[in-house]
Amino acid sequence: MNAYLHLWLIPLLPFAGFLINGILGGRLPKWLVTTVALLAPLAAFGVVLNASLGVFGFVPAASSLPYIETCPLPWINAGLLHVNFSFVLDQLSLVMLLVVTGVGFLIHVYSVGYMGDDKGYARYFSYLNLFLFFMTVLVLAGNALVMFIGWEGVGLASYLLIGFWFEKKSAADAGKKAFIVNRIGDFGFLIGMFLLVANFGTLTFTEIATKLGQDPGWSGGVVTVIALCLMLGAAGKSAQLPLYIWLPDAMEGPTPVSALIHAATMVTAGVYMVARTHVLFDHSPFALSVVAIIGAATAIFAATIALVQNDIKRVLAYSTISQLGYMFLGCGVAAYSAAIFHLMTHAFFKALLFMAAGSVIHAIGGEQDLRKMGGLRKKLPVTFWTMTAAVLAIAGFFPFAGFFSKDAILYAAFLQGTNGKILWFVGVLTALLTSFYMFRLWYMTFLGESRSPDVHPHESPWSMRGPLVILALLSVGGGWIGMERFAGFLAPSVGVLPTEAGNPRLEIILSLVAVLVALEGWLIADKLYRRKPARPAQWAAALPGGYKLLANKYFVDELYGAVVVKPLLGFSKFVLEWVVDFAILGGAAWLLGGIATFTGAILQRWQSGNLRSYAAWLAAGAAAVLLFLLVPWATVLDNLSAIHLGMAGH
């Protein structure tokens, strides 16, 4: 393998950026910090582009995919387990890398403007670069253990960035919540890895695929268990039921962080992982159906909550959870290419949505409540038009990006038999809700009259507007590559789309249904939020219980708090306070002290000052010495044992 692609540079450059800005950032001038911070992802993107040139045929490729780079120094050689640091570039990781580094770079540029006045500027960029490092490691990983490094690392970077304004208690709490919930998912990932080692003896993806392919006996049973464990990990990282609770709270972080980590890249790591280990899922229909059900359920669940949220970022957060549900639905019907396609388009429009929202928030001085916005269309034109493009894309209108990817998933779901049709229906319902709440957001933010007249909004600097425009263009045209070509490109790494049972006419009918549904959502939103703005309040008053349930996110956080958190806290408090602190530590201290005091009390009586007792001990000592020296112990003991034996004999 010639190392001409230098994959190792892709993670290394952001890591260097992290080190420089992290260690020296406080002392460097701001322009230098910015340059270093932007250069790292740009250079990484450059390396990825260079690799993609060969793949897409622009330059003659010297070697074909998958292209593997292994570090010559061995990592783990323990008995039968051999794990190395290896990076793999195949079609899947190439697509993912382009998204990660490309969108990542754009968000870095955006952050220059958004975080320009923040006093933690250098720290922010060092964390952002650190995240990019771990994410690229995750994507490039050739075996599950290297991927796990990236997995944990992005969790760490997420914690650091969510709690970036750590003086705010809610931000610090949100960071902790994200990390802890992630950890629960990671437990599943670990168990999955252990089972992989136990059953396959290896963690390298290609070797696992080969072993699964060779032996047709692998199906169901242990493969299902492994797949489900991995799914647990993915659910934690990608905020699916029941581990989604951290994502809405993660909105405490700066908006570019939400755009990068909680829209475009980190949360998609779960989807990527499932696609990467798709051979396992392919051999377990049960696991696949579990994935699909979780995906569909999460999609509609989150969409219902998003209907009544009033914080602009919360709406987008629940929207992200919902769209991730779509991606898992795609994986669950073995349409991995469709899921990755949706991942890519979602990265474009969701990052755009978050950044536009950030632009709005920045413009009106930090306000995030939708009820206080309005009438920003004329004041923030660039933001308005780019956000419109994103809203149309996420709603699934033709010919925007979201249409192609969402349709591919729904089509593949429909073809899956009766269960598939139910899932398709849920997906369509979710699409309706998605369209509705996105347009609701759009109307409340930009149209109508301003609900807070004393704010004077100003458009964002070009460092923020530029990426918005670029992403808007991608949201519009990102889907034009078409599902067939995309799936064909990805087929060597994730398998073919399961669409043999369908026909093009069915596809067109289903697409039409989706567009109509999206249109319906828009019309409802239009009616409620433009033409009759008093209606929403009336509807909310008509169904107070339902409204309260949705507004409070189905009380899931409270439920978890009561069922899981409180008992655990109580138990650990009991153990730590009583068992460890009082009994063990206190007991040990008491014991040691007691021994010392006790021995001291005994020995103290020796030092009585009484001359006669000293004399007595002297005499005793002398007697002992004399006895020891003058008595022929050997003969005495012999005689004693002879006597003893003699007596025993009788």
Binding site: S608, S613, L627
Partner: protein, 175 residues
């Protein structure tokens, strides 16, 4: 003759030693000790150590015991008062002493090669003793004299009146 002399003076030794233990007034104990020492001097003579017998009487009985007597008189030590004993002394000390005595006695009685006391060839002349003392063992002799010098100095330093001691002053001025 030898036997009678030995028995008589050994009896005096033991009797004096036991009397030392029994008596309650220290002056009586001191006088008993003098008896022991003089008897020991005779026993030395029986073993042929003429010089040592003389030295025993002069130094031990004549100087050291006199010193003891002086101190008893000086401090006006009375009869011993009953005080709390020491449990350790009773419970550990006595068995230890008994053990020592038994062990040593056993060793002595089982020892081979111990002869009898023969006066005929056992008398050591003073000339013989002094020859060895002043030639081969000259260094220890000189060191011992230094030791005695130090002892004198020490005794003087310890025993003299401390002028800053209020009780001592009271003793001098009060009485």
């Amino acid at each position: 003759m030898h036997l009678i002399l030995f028995l008589v003076f050994a009896g005096f030794c033991l009797g004096g030693a036991i009397n030392l233990l029994i008596q309650s007034h220290p002056i009586n104990s001191a006088l008993s000790l003098i008896v022991v020492m003089v008897s020991l001097a005779v026993l030395y003579l029986l073993l042929g150590a003429e010089f040592l017998a003389a030295a025993q009487v002069i130094v031990y009985a004549g100087a050291i015991m006199v010193l003891f007597t002086f101190v008893v008189m000086l401090l006006n030590a009375g009869r011993e008062a009953r005080t709390l004993g020491s449990r350790a002394a009773r419970s550990i000390g006595f068995p230890a002493v008994v053990a020592i005595l038994v062990v040593i006695a056993t060793v002595i009685l089982h020892a081979q090669g111990l002869g009898v006391a023969r006066l005929s060839d056992g008398i050591t002349s003073t000339e013989e003793l002094s020859t060895v003392l002043f030639t081969k063992l000259l260094l220890p002799f000189e060191v011992t004299s230094v030791l005695i010098l130090i002892a004198i100095l020490g005794a003087v330093a310890l025993a003299r009146h401390d002028d800053t001691d209020p009780r001592a002053n009271e003793e001098r001025t009060g009485k």
